[in-house]
Amino acid sequence: MSQSLFEKIGGTAAVDAAVDVFYRKVLSDERISDFFDAVDMERQAAKQKAFLTMALGGPNNYSGADMRRGHAHLVARGLNDAHFDAVMENLAATLQELNVPAELIAEAAAICESTRNDVLGR
């Protein structure tokens, strides 16, 4: 049986390694940092971890409805495609920095892309 993306990337350990790198990038990205700034950082970090686990094909229970509900307050504040793209960029840059092969990064990007309409409430 072939390995899943999550297994190929290195599982939970890979997510642990990626979460701080990713979160630092997001916080220093002026296009999107406002969406992340006001909230409790530890709670945010936990959310980033949940996001990365999902993006890397790991175990998660998110439904499209969860994605809509979880981001509705951000959509109300103006969350749009440009912000979504910025997050995708930061994700790719994080995985590159951690020497994840390009084809696996593409797989992760595809998983994220599949949530776009739910995240943006369309």
Partner: protein
């Protein structure tokens, strides 16, 4: 929308509220205090339903396993049956000494109750009466002091701090509960550099943590930046300088952000001075304590300077009169 069953009474928790907010909105007088997951006053036990990991994260593993969680930081993702916990046992202790440490600042010594084990850096709840309590950090170290030592700043209109300053005296009996909090030294990487930044009486737990690290033979450098607006609000300077003379790898930098004369103090806010001197914190363990705004900003800046999220220990002093 999830249903919360509180000792037989069912209430509906709306999208954006915590379990605690839901209980209070429905007129259930559940005890609470800080509302941010620090003081654990509102802790409850889940008898059915799954609790989001976040809501029990601040608790000891032994409590988590029993289904305890903090409703003030719980956004439910399941229907929950919960019940209030028998309030943490209150212990009666004698006040064994009160002395001034500086302007509007006293040191309170309390008899340590039999079997009361704590980690330096943790805090206790101190009760003025049945309804009014406040959290105070422990500045003591069980190896160095038999008693529990607190640093209490008089707050404007402080109902507990004013009472401590004006009315409490040696020999009085008061009630405390605890210990609480997870900001303390863990014996792990003994070579790891430690950065401690505190404002005002945020020094109290840091003083305990520093001495605990030294007690456990920590060999990495230990840097303390203690800040206040006025030099008159810095304290324990002599003790900390003595500690610095005794341990070459402990460095104490008092900081004054207002007007200060002479070169005894670094000029600027403790956080700014610390990060100016140590712009890279990758691999460091960081302890932050005091003013909530400082702690919040410092957590972000320490993280952006490279400290791992799990290596940042923060204890924000939420102030209530």
């Amino acid at each position: 929308m999830y249903e919360i069953n509180y000792s037989g009474r069912a209430v509906a928790c709306t999208e954006n509220e915590t379990v605690l907010e839901c209980l209070l909105r429905n007129g259930i007088e559940h005890p609470h205090s800080c509302r941010n997951g620090s003081c654990q006053t509102c802790m409850v036990q889940a008898v059915a339903g799954s609790v989001p990991q976040q809501a029990s994260a601040p608790l000891k593993p032994s409590l988590r396993e029993q289904g305890y969680f903090l409703p003030c930081i719980c956004h439910p993702q399941d229907n929950l049956d919960i019940r209030p916990v028998a309030i943490m046992e209150r212990l009666q202790v004698a006040v064994t000494g009160i002395k001034s440490l500086g302007r509007n600042l006293v040191q309170v010594k309390l008899q340590r109750p039999e079997g009361f084990a704590y980690r330096p850096g943790q805090f206790i709840n101190l009760f003025r009466d049945d309804n009014i309590s406040r959290c105070y950090s422990l500045a003591s170290h069980p190896h160095h002091e038999d008693e529990l030592v607190l640093h209490v700043r008089r707050l404007p209109h402080g109902r507990v701090s004013g009472w401590i300053h004006d009315e409490l005296s040696q020999g009085d009996k008061i009630e405390v509960s605890g210990p609480l909090g997870d900001s303390f030294y863990v014996v792990d990487d003994q070579q790891q550099p430690l950065m401690l930044i505190g404002t005002g009486t945020g020094l109290a737990p840091l003083y305990g943590i520093i001495r605990d690290a030294l007690h456990h033979g920590h060999t990495g450098p230990i840097h303390l930046y203690h800040g206040a607006r006025d030099a008159a609000d810095l304290y324990l300077g002599e003790e900390l300088q003595r500690l610095q003379a005794e341990y070459g790898h402990f460095h104490y930098v008092p900081c004054v952000s207002g007007q200060a004369s002479g070169d005894r103090y670094a000029a600027g806010r403790a956080l700014d001075v610390a990060l100016q001197r140590h712009p890279q914190l990758k691999g460091w363990r960081v302890f932050l304590c005091g003013n909530p705004e400082m702690v919040k900003l410092a957590r972000k800046r320490a993280f952006m300077a490279g400290a791992a999220m799990q290596d940042i220990y923060a204890d924000a002093f939420t102030v209530s009169a």
